[in-house]
């Protein structure tokens, strides 16, 4: 089974992330970047599927030069090859534009049996690219999988909701996005780190994909960040005095936040 995993290079969430003052896009310069942690689950799931059978895992990313680090991490984990789409014109692209570039890249890679995505990126956290990508590729989409199995030419996933878990089936080829409950991503071993040095990474531009620069980038995106403000300091928590009803008030609070 050949699997394509879409991954994103994001600013490290441990650092103080911010936006560029000039064009209000994500600041990717002043903060170290890394492979989005939520995408590691998709890479891990792909590796497990291929290791249990046969086939190849290709990771694909859209991003600036430094995004090569994200694909490198996936290669160190065990992916076979990588494609990095890098083009100045992509800067500032929103989800629809990004999904267009990813779709064209996946078509050029070939026809994978399965496209895997993470739940969301840890910077944009929109969670919409998987659905858009499936639509552009004309693939069935089964999203937010907490469990994934492949039997014959069908995939079966479990999707956990607030009150129920659904089991959903789709036929291959298809697109699946996975949650952080699905597995425990491996850390690259020394052998993986060394082997990754020799794995092929192709770098493509928009021209390689036949995508017109007028379809992507900040100026051609449907959505734009107009302004941003620093998050206000955290407000003081609510103190509930126990006047005999402390227990039920606590239960009400937890229920209102859907903790219980």
């Amino acid at each position: 089974m050949n699997i394509v995993v879409c991954v994103k290079y994001v600013p490290d969430a441990q650092s103080d992330r911010t936006f560029n003052d000039s064009d209000k896009t994500t600041d990717r310069e002043s903060v170290d970047g890394l492979l989005s942690e939520l995408d590691e689950y998709a890479v891990e799931e792909a590796l497990k599927l291929v290791e249990a059978g046969e086939g190849e895992v290709t990771v694909v990313t859209v991003g600036p030069d430094q995004a090569a680090d994200a694909v490198k991490k996936a290669l160190q984990m065990g992916a076979d090859k990588a494609v990095h789409i890098s083009d100045e014109a992509i800067h500032g692209s929103d989800a629809p534009a990004t999904s267009l570039v990813l779709a064209e890249a996946i078509k050029k890679i070939g026809s994978p049996d399965l496209v895997l995505c993470g739940l969301a990126s840890t910077d944009g956290t929109m969670s919409v690219v998987p659905a858009m990508l499936a639509e552009r590729l004309g693939l069935p989409q089964v999203t937010q999988a907490s469990e994934l199995s492949v039997e014959g030419d069908a995939v079966k996933i479990r999707r956990d909701g607030d009150v129920a878990s659904e089991t959903i089936e789709a036929s291959l080829p298809c697109l699946v996005s996975v949650t952080d409950q699905i597995n425990e991503p491996r850390y690259p071993s020394f052998k993986g780190i060394m082997a990754a040095k020799k794995k092929p990474v192709e770098t493509w531009t928009l021209a390689d994909l036949g995508v017109d620069a007028g379809q992507v980038g900040l100026d051609n995106s449907w959505t734009k960040v107009l302004e941003f403000t620093k998050r206000p300091p955290r407000e003081q928590g609510e103190i509930v005095k126990d006047e005999g009803d402390g227990g039920s008030k606590l239960a009400e609070f937890l229920a209102s936040r859907k903790f219980i």
Binding site: K72, S189, F190, M194
Partner: protein, 396 residues
């Protein structure tokens, strides 16, 4: 002078930017070891130290083997074949966790595995190295004796020929991993000088009682090796090497790891002191805001940087084949001495909290008391440097 763009921000974790001279792979290897330590060791280490027992050392060794840590700088036989700098970075991260844990890995890879890899027969290598690299089999290294430390040439453990067999008698002391080992590399006097033997620990006459009542390296198995008419076939001996060159070549490998490792213990203590003094308030402000505290922090940071640069420089020389044993002595002498000073200073900055196992500093300081004298005491390394500088040997 070029002025290209704004200056990078000051990074408290890498004040002068030593990371600039590490490759992406080197940083990835460091990250992999750090991650393993954070998940498998860090949550338990204070308890292991306090109880003097590592919960499941075999399982831990398997974790280390799975990552590729064991004998990582050796080629072939299931070893990862990494560089000396890679190995050093790994030692630093392990010892930032605990010197005992770094010792466990050092002894397995740099002493037991290196000895077999460097001096063993092809059969010995095939028999032991792949399992040891995977962490399935544990090794120890017996050189030091109850009465013979800095002067190993006077050792009393003896191997005598009996027909084609060898019969070993004697005692070894302060042997890391001894009690849990599957194989012991034992050095003994023979009629042809000192020779090395690969001793399976289930050989009759071999026992390895654990040494208790330690106040240092408590999260580490330390043992005595008792050899009581241990009968071995001729093939158990290392075929060629004679004299102290055999064991000393191995010690030089392990000492190299200590040059880096000690800086890990120091870094961990420095980090704890920095964080603590920035949070702890006395007389209405964080104690990090007082000049005496800042002097301590600045001095600690300087020595940490100098030690790391020294380790890196010696590592690069080791990788290009120009590292002499004296270089390792310079590194071990300086870095352990400065590391223990950093840990002791950190301990003062935490006040009473400095003696609690809730913080790593007293554990590191106590551990380094062992590191200060094992694998060559301060005095011995001082004499090595003295001899290198003057041409005069002052050992005896």
């Amino acid at each position: 002078m070029s002025t290209a763009g704004p200056l990078p921000p000051f990074d408290r974790n890498d004040p002068i930017g030593i990371d600039d001279v590490l490759s992406a792979e080197e940083k990835a290897i460091r990250g992999a070891v750090r991650n393993l330590c954070e998940t498998k060791v860090q949550p338990h280490i204070a308890d292991w130290f306090e109880s003097g027992v590592i919960d499941d050392p075999r399982a831990l060794m398997k974790e280390f083997g799975g990552l590729g840590l064991l004998g990582m700088h050796l080629e072939g036989y299931g070893c990862a074949g990494m560089s000396a700098v890679d190995y050093g970075l790994a030692c630093l991260e392990l010892e930032a966790c605990d010197s005992g844990i770094r010792s466990m890995v050092s002894v397995q890879g740099s002493l037991a595995m290196f000895a077999i890899w460097r001096w063993g027969t092809e059969e010995q290598k095939q028999e032991w190295l792949p399992g040891m690299a995977a962490g399935d089999r544990i090794g120890c290294f017996g050189l030091t004796e109850p009465d013979h430390g800095s002067d190993p040439g006077s050792m009393r453990t003896r191997a005598k020929k009996d027909g084609t067999d060898w019969v070993l008698n004697g005692r070894k002391m302060w042997i890391t991993n001894g009690t849990i080992a599957d194989v012991a590399v034992v050095w003994a006097q023979t009629d042809e000088g000192i020779r090395g033997f690969v001793v399976p620990t289930d050989t009759p006459g071999f026992s390895a009682p654990e040494i208790k009542h330690k106040m240092s390296l408590r999260a580490s198995v330390t043992s005595e090796l008792v050899l009581d008419d241990v009968r071995l076939p001729e093939e158990a001996a290392f075929p060629e090497v004679r004299g102290l060159k055999g064991p000393l070549s191995c010690l030089n490998e392990a000492r190299y790891g200590i040059v880096w490792g000690a800086m890990g213990a120091a870094r961990s203590s420095f980090d704890a002191a920095l964080q603590y003094t920035m949070e702890r308030e006395q007389f209405g402000k964080p104690i990090a805001g007082f000049q005496l505290t800042q002097k301590k922090l600045a001095d600690m940071s300087l020595e940490l940087i100098k030690g790391e640069l020294l380790a890196l420089h010696i590592g690069r020389r080791k990788d290009n084949g120009t590292c002499r044993p004296e270089h390792v002595s310079y590194g071990k002498l300086n870095n352990v001495r400065e590391a223990i000073e950093i840990c002791r200073t950190a301990r003062t900055m935490l006040g009473a909290n400095g003696i609690s196992l809730e913080f790593p500093v007293i554990r590191h300081a106590n551990n380094l008391e062992s590191v200060l004298t094992y694998e060559g005491t301060v005095e011995m390394h001082t004499l090595v440097v003295g001899q290198a500088l003057t041409g005069e040997a002052a050992f005896r």
